[in-house]
Symmetry: C2
């Protein structure tokens, strides 16, 4: 399975993949020879191709067509045949540096970053930011809307703001709300949101005697807005790049993709990444669990907010992608984002 191909087979596979990435048509032995300085005849190439096909690295759509890579072929290419292509790093670096001084809000920041990555790669850029749950509490602000409606504003240590309306069972007045807010800000500062519910439960028994009402309401606010199901934030950019790809020139192929992107919550799950995975991951074609993306490849890379917490930056495109270029871009940009959170202390 994991055996290495002969050197010439590797070269030919690499040439086929490169050719197919550049020109979206199956390539034949003769054309391949022309495009590379390979010192053998078409017939030789053909017999090697025959072998590669037998091993399922390449295939051809019909008898008289050229060869193109299979998922397995792409996989081998990505794992073994990808030369470091450092061509465009300066360009990326330049735009990233320019960005550094313009960060205005997390929302705008990620919106810009997803645009950046999509621009560099000419593919769809997706960023998934972790749920509130996994972030740390900075402060809460409670705004009186009516006697049983409160607008709750949560701020995280990393600068994310989340607001939410809570319908209370008991009536409140603005003064009591202020007390509750003070209480929360004292109690929860720096605490991860997921720990708050439990902390609240512990404190409530102690409090109930003296501050019955305060405790009950604070508890309801925590239950309904922190403990309730939270949505991850997702930024998607450059969906129209899909139209440039020759494999997506028919509505029947584009439609499912765009429909999938209409479902943000699902997209968040698909593009999220295990936080323990460091470095770039690629899933190619059938390796993707999501039906809609089985004709695509996804390149993912975590960026880090704290040591234990991360978001994911991804690129989605056709299997026929310039992986070298995309790897460089993803590596750089995700590194930049991690930096913003860690070393630069921008948030």
């Amino acid at each position: 399975m994991n055996t290495r191909l002969s050197e010439r087979k590797e070269t030919i596979l690499q040439l086929i993949v490169n050719s197919f990435i550049q020109y979206p048509e199956p390539v034949g032995s003769k054309t391949l020879l022309q495009r590379s300085g390979l010192g053998v005849s078409p017939a030789t190439i053909r017999s090697e191709m025959n072998e590669l096909e037998r091993l399922h690295y390449i295939t051809h759509p019909h008898t008289s067509a050229g060869r193109l890579p299979t998922d397995k072929g792409y996989r081998y290419y990505v794992d073994h045949l990808l030369g470091q292509e450092t061509s465009e790093t300066e360009k990326i670096q330049a735009r990233i540096t320019a960005l550094k001084h313009k960060i205005k809000s997390i929302d705008e920041f990620f919106s810009t970053v997803s645009n950046l990555i999509s621009d560099f790669t000419s593919q769809v850029g997706v960023i998934v930011f972790p749920v509130l749950d996994e972030l740390n509490f900075r402060y809460a602000n409670l705004i009186y809307l009516s006697e049983n409606k409160v607008l709750v504003v949560w701020a995280t240590m990393s600068g994310l703001i989340k607001e939410q309306i809570v319908h209370l069972d008991k009536a409140v007045d603005p003064e009591l709300l202020q007390h509750i807010a003070n209480f929360m800000n004292q109690e929860f500062f720096g605490m991860p949101f997921h720990a708050i519910k439990a902390h609240m439960a512990k404190r409530i028994s102690e409090l109930e005697r003296s501050y019955n009402k305060l405790a009950t309401i604070a508890d309801q606010i925590v239950s309904e807005s922190i403990a309730a199901r939270q949505e991850r934030k997702v930024w998607i950019d450059g969906m129209s790049h899909i139209f440039a790809e020759p494999e997506f020139q028919e509505i029947t192929t584009i439609k499912p993709l765009l429909e999938a992107f209409d479902q943000r919550e699902r997209i968040a799950k698909v593009f999220e990444h295990d936080r323990t995975v460091d470095g770039i991951t690629t899933t190619i074609g059938e390796e993707n669990d999501t039906a809609e993306f089985k004709s695509c490849a996804i390149v993912r890379r975590n960026f880090y907010i704290t040591d234990s917490l991360c978001g994911t930056l991804s690129v989605l495109g056709p299997r026929r992608m310039d992986y070298a270029k995309i790897f460089t871009a993803v590596e750089f940009v995700s590194g930049f984002v991690s930096n913003v959170f860690k070393e630069e202390k921008l948030f």
Copy 2:
């Protein structure tokens, strides 16, 4: 120009538009006769059609094809021939009522509403919410990030939260920030954001002597985050409905649409509406200024936040739309949204 057509011409135009809305093909005199109980021969219909074509209400793509409405035809249809179709109002009403008790945040609320309207109409739903500028100040929160970086959180009276990072020219400490926040909250409460800049300028001369530093920094925060160009919020839902429309079955026709939707700020401008316009507005085909939407129709309706301030709820679809159904949906849903802001005092 604004003259009324003869009754029979109106009937025929109406039949043509209705037929074309239901079946996306030009309709001929014979087919039209079959589909309607019109008591005249095809030849008669043909001569009437001829007349209607001479008056530019209908056209035909080639000699041997049936007729279809022009923009002018649709316009006449929308202005004069639209019967009240009250068929689905209960269904809409039901889903709206169910929604009322689940409002959690402005973001989620509009995300749900745009989904609702897109669902009812089977077209693209767009909601534009006014810029911060036009809303009223509730409170500001200043969070110390580093000695010259502040996270500013603005809350509006209507419950919208906006956060922004400001890079300060002068260094601050958390205590000073707290003073500035207190100052702002006292000074600006209830004031429309667009008035704050001027108010600040007026106060700064009085203050400068005693609170030099506070005033300078407060001024910078106001200038950089309130006075700076603000983005309207936009929610778009149901873009994949476009794929169901027969006039958008080729990538060349879909691509420009989706590319336009990638540019949020532009979309906001296109779908925004003059606040003085009350009631539904329709722009059909060439009536749309935006090049990308000249093959579409847009139905817009303002909803009201205060007497002088409003957002817009719109539906975008092909010219060949079921206007009656869409008018009903837009009317109901925008009415509901206005209600949420005004009478129900949810925010």
